[in-house]
Symmetry: C2
Subunit: 330 residues, 2 copies
């Protein structure tokens, strides 16, 4: 039986590796996960990646030659197929990911930043389908970003574009994990918003908040899920926190809209499980931080591919690099 | 005698039209100016443009057929050769600039935003020569911006990219001419910094400043030139104002560097006549607002083409649109 055209997508996370077989329409045909074991160093991570890809091919009944190629999304700055630097996965820097996988499997391999590829996934198969200029925020533990401009992946000089979480939204403001002050990430990431919530709940006059009752006073248990659950139930403190998060998201996205005038700004990542309550509030704040014309020509939307944006984007990278004419299974 | 390859560049300003014959190396062969008469409406402006181009061709001993084409840089948002909107030149919106000049002169015509084209000029023939990703600030009465990304003019959706002056640098801050608060333009433009200086000099304890003595107490006479003259002479208030201007330039440029990781950020426009005193201070502030990696891979530089960046960029647009193979004079 002739196999359909497909590529292997591999998303490298700090905790887990996720590998999927993606067809040319962005559909996941099969998927498999494994621990990254980042702390064991890059040789172990590369070994785990190779094992996982081999396993995926086996369960899918494929040979490496019957897929178009392998796309890899990884944290850090990627240049010429090599991880140049990786602030959040220290042992990983220097990994010659493209070369290693090309040698091992004898099939084309392409690597890029993980959030940049999630943006490509949303652009090609998700919320940004059919558009030309799309900017994505991935709002999770930290905040990452990815850009597709003039219909092409925009990686910037030396693969470092898209650090949208470290754009200053409040000069001299809260301390960020990067050591600077007033970054978007310090306010609107899971880490930022839970830290702010804990500080507010340490003041006794906020103890009547539903957040405090939900975690039974154990402030370490606070998560964005709890904050947004309470916000939707009408809790005042939780809504105040959402207001702060969304104000700074609007300052940051507003800067992007004024500078780049994209067709769409996509908000994704774990925190966006809260959905509409964030989107609506950011939309309400945007007019204060953007000129009318670029704002009216830009949609603000939630990501559509959810947790799969990464691997789907990895597949999209392969289809894009090899082009439609070469997209024929061997 | 065979004429050298050249294009006509036309820079539309709110006050003056500037027209130049540009050779393929970005050199100005001849130049001619005329009042825009923007207040008389777009038919009059179009008439003045046509007259000026005809005059330039005459003094240069050229026919319209012996130039490669006409490039036009104009304020506002340009889409499909038409001025879609022009916040700073109201009567100008709707002008079908490309069509009108193509009809009149029978030669190719291309139009784009004036600051975007100044960026293209610096990218092709000025400070950004040989680079791939360049972002320009034009700091004058207001603040405009232009972007060249992946080696191409980046105009965004519907030609609206580059509103770098209206990026929020201080949420809830000073009122801007656009009606919003905390825009870069409200602090770092000529208008912004002179307004702030006037406010500071209204307080009697600042009256010992050299700025106050220079304008003999007539605060309406304050210009960036006077402020920077005093700053260079060591005046404390003037240096405090420069510190504020450069801090906000660093917040804004820092956001651009984190988001786009360009090879170079270019500061141009009238205010940059002050030169090094601004560049040095912005460089000093940048580490507080950017991640190390994209910052270390990005140079901050002053524009090189000065007031000619606009017309030279108009010429560059023609060379770019028609490509090297078609760059043969007829």
């Amino acid at each position: 039986m002739k196999k359909s055209i497909a590529a292997v997508g591999l998303d490298v996370g700090g905790t887990n590796l996720k590998c999927a077989l993606i067809d040319i329409k962005g559909k996941i045909l099969s998927v498999r996960c494994k621990q990254t074991q980042a702390a064991c160093g890059r040789r172990r991570v590369l070994h785990n990646i190779k094992t996982l890809i081999r396993e995926l091919l086996e369960v899918s009944g494929r040979t490496p030659q019957s897929v178009l190629g392998i796309g890899v999304g990884t944290p850090g700055y990627i240049l010429n197929g090599r991880v140049q630097g990786s602030p959040n996965m220290p042992g990983w820097a220097g990994a010659p990911i493209e070369r290693e996988l090309r040698r091992k499997f004898g099939t084309p391999c392409f690597a890029a930043n993980d959030v940049t590829l999630a943006a490509l996934g949303e652009f090609k198969f998700g919320a940004g389908k059919g558009l030309n200029n799309v900017v994505c925020y991935a709002i999770g533990t930290g905040i990452g970003g990815g850009l597709v401009l003039n219909g092409e992946l925009y990686e910037g000089t030396r693969g470092m574009a898209g650090e949208l979480g470290h754009v200053t939204v409040e000069p001299g403001g809260r301390k960020c994990s990067c050591g600077r002050r007033g970054c978007l990430e310090a306010y609107a990431s899971a880490t930022g918003m839970t830290a702010i919530t804990r500080e507010l709940l340490k003041k006794s006059n906020n103890r009547h908040s539903a957040i405090y009752r939900t975690v039974k006073g154990d402030l370490e248990q606070i998560t964005p899920k709890i904050i947004y659950g309470c916000a939707k139930a009408g809790d005042r403190l939780a809504n105040r926190i959402n207001g702060m998060v969304c104000k700074y998201l609007a300052v940051a996205a507003g800067g992007v809209i004024n500078s780049l005038s994209p067709d769409m700004v996509i908000l994704g990542g774990g925190v966006m499980a809260a959905g509409k309550i964030i989107l609506d509030k950011v939309r309400k704040f945007l007019p204060a931080y953007t000129l009318r014309e670029p704002r009216e020509n830009c949609r603000l939307a939630a990501a559509k591919l959810g947790e799969h944006a990464g691997v789907i984007g990895c597949g999209a990278l392969v289809f894009r690099k090899l082009g439609p004419r070469r997209a024929i299974p061997r």
